[in-house]
């Protein structure tokens, strides 16, 4: 049997969900027999593959690179899963939203708070422009399943993946849905 092609990506988040993924520990070894990681920040593939079975998206949509990557993911993935609270709700990165214009925040951090050489990062093609409003992934693309949590515990991730691999779908219920 072909292994299920899995991608994990990471947008505006802290990597905690990926860490929680790794916290499945020795189950990862079992998992390696069933899945093939075809794209991930912990692997070296540089381009998102053209066809993926399942993509786990950690993080919120916070800059224009994320927007572009989201659409690429949706176009290439059979199943897209919002992975963790940032992807599901916007969570902590979205705390900047009530402050309004991100340019003002950049000004504070890089110009006002610099001891020397104050300049707000802007180089085109290098540092992506921030979107006005950080948003959850499903506001940008259609999302099939949601794994909330900050981060979702490894047992929650395990359950979601097991369901998906065994039954082809993964609607979490009960305590497994708790945000935060």
């Amino acid at each position: 049997m072909d292994r299920v092609k899995v991608a994990t990506v990471w947008l505006g988040g802290c990597s905690g969900c990926h860490m929680s993924f790794l916290d499945m520990d020795e189950f990862l070894i079992d998992l390696a027999e069933k899945i093939q990681v075809v794209y991930s920040p912990i692997a070296d593939m540089k381009e998102f593959p053209e066809s993926v079975d399942v993509t786990l998206v950690e993080g919120s949509v916070a800059n224009e690179d994320h927007v572009e990557l989201c659409h690429k993911i949706r176009a290439a993935s059979r199943v897209v899963i919002s992975f963790g609270d940032c992807a599901v709700t916007g969570n902590v990165p979205a705390m900047r939203n009530p402050l309004g214009d991100p340019e003002k925040i950049l000004q504070l951090v890089y110009v006002d708070r610099a001891d020397t050489h104050p300049i707000a990062p802007k180089e085109a093609g290098i540092v992506p422009k921030l979107v006005d409003r950080v948003r959850p992934v499903h506001e940008e693309i259609d999302v099939d399943y949601f794994i909330p949590g900050c981060p979702p515990s490894s047992s929650r991730i395990k359950e979601a993946l097991t369901n998906l691999l065994e039954m082809g779908e993964t609607h979490l219920t009960g305590e497994n849905l708790r945000f935060g």
């Binding site: 659409h71 949706r74 176009a75 499903h138 940008e140 693309i141 259609d142």
Partner: protein, 544 residues
Amino acid sequence: MDSNELMEIKEAQIASAKPIRLRCCLAAGCLYSEGEAIKEALENALEEEGLTDQVEVLGVGCMGLCSEGPLVQVDPDGILYEKVKPSDARSIVAALKGGKATAKIGDLSHPFFTKQVPVVLENSGKVDPERIETYIARDGYQALNTVINELHPSQVVEEVTKSGLRGRGGAGYRTGLKWELVAKTPGDRKYVVCNADEGDPGAFMDRSVLESDPHRVLEGMAIAAYAVGANQGYIYVRGEYPLCIKRLQIAIRQARNLGLLGSAVFDTSFNFRVDLRIGAGAFVCGEETALMASIEGRRGTPRPRPPFPAESGLWNSPTLINNVETYANIPLIIRKGAAWFSSMGTERSKGTKVFSLAGKVKHTGLIEVPMGTPLRVIVNEMAGGAPDGGKVKAVYTGGLSGGCIPAEKLDTPVDYESLVQIGAIMGSGGMIVMDETDNMVDLAHFFMEFCVDESCGKCVPCRAGTVQIYRLLDRILNGMGEDGDIAKLQELSEMVKSCSLCGLGQSAPNPVVSTLRYYRNEYIECIHKNPKRNGNKNAVKAAK
């Protein structure tokens, strides 16, 4: 005050009237367009011409055809001058002696006038709202006299029940039934409240009635108070209507001075005091439980019903709440009888209804027609259809809680049931006409902006749901809509409608539901304008 004195006032007033009267509209629309100045100019012109013995100038209430205002009508010959300017005064006076007036002369044979059946508006434009005598001269307060002196309260209730009158505030609840309920509920203290918090966008019937004929409403309330056993009344009137407030204050004072309100009305043991409560800019206070909260000096937030006001209203006492037009019908029902009243209208909707016409029609203003009049007659004949060669696209009735009626359905008669059947409601009587240039998504957006602004914030569906509906509409209108948005709108609308605490929330989605029902294509067109639509989430998924 007794019946004889009332007759004396009436006769004295009739006797004092001069042979020719220039009735000068001083209701809000005309007043804002120099109504006072016109009246003054006319008086000056009469002075100059030495006609003050034979001609008098009366400041009167609304004559209906607001779009052609300011209006001046000559009584008794009936000539109606439209769009009068103070500079026209001299020629109007001259015309009394055979000259030619510079002002435009209105066509009184136009259906706008001929198809009207004035019941509530019988005195509008005829009496001076600031002089009680002019009301009494037209049989004012006679019904109250009859009721107090000749009828048992239960007979009054019966008469109202028999008339088939239904609440004119919107829902169409049977007025007699409501009265009966309050009358039957035991309580040391009962209240009668007049809901004059007319807030629906595009509705100005109540304002007009109060500005033009305030005593009629006071009389109706007094009759109601007698019927249900109340001694205290409140009129809750919009703060946005300063002229109404002023005229009501004058009217209450005058009626009290004559012993028609206050203690010992008509020298009987019946006491009825009326106080004004001035709204402070909250649409939700038109909802009866919110209105009562506001009268009690609290935040105007509604509470769940039951208990209904009839059982537990103001200060937990039985309370009768009717709207302005409902009360305004009462004196005539008593005077002319329930049978007369129920001879007008349709099987289940009796009497007449006042409508305010606004939007894309030639003649905007106020009309009163028998229930059951087809919309087509009102919109195309009376209001003259769309102006500037346009085409009527739809009529929006019932204000916020109503719905739109597409041009194809203009043959629908205006009565409670027929309108509900096509997804609109009678509502309080606001009628907004849209033409082909109007975008229905924009209309829904306008109404929803209103709802967001006016939601009291107490219950979640209305407070947060309307905001989300508004955001969706805003997105669609601005060309940022997505394919799933219409379904989302419908789902939200259904929830807000089913779950909101009060009428405001329950009807808030109506503009969306009703425009979606008939003009879904306009929504789709807007969504298709989204430049990013091909890259949007649903499109991408579909392309997979």
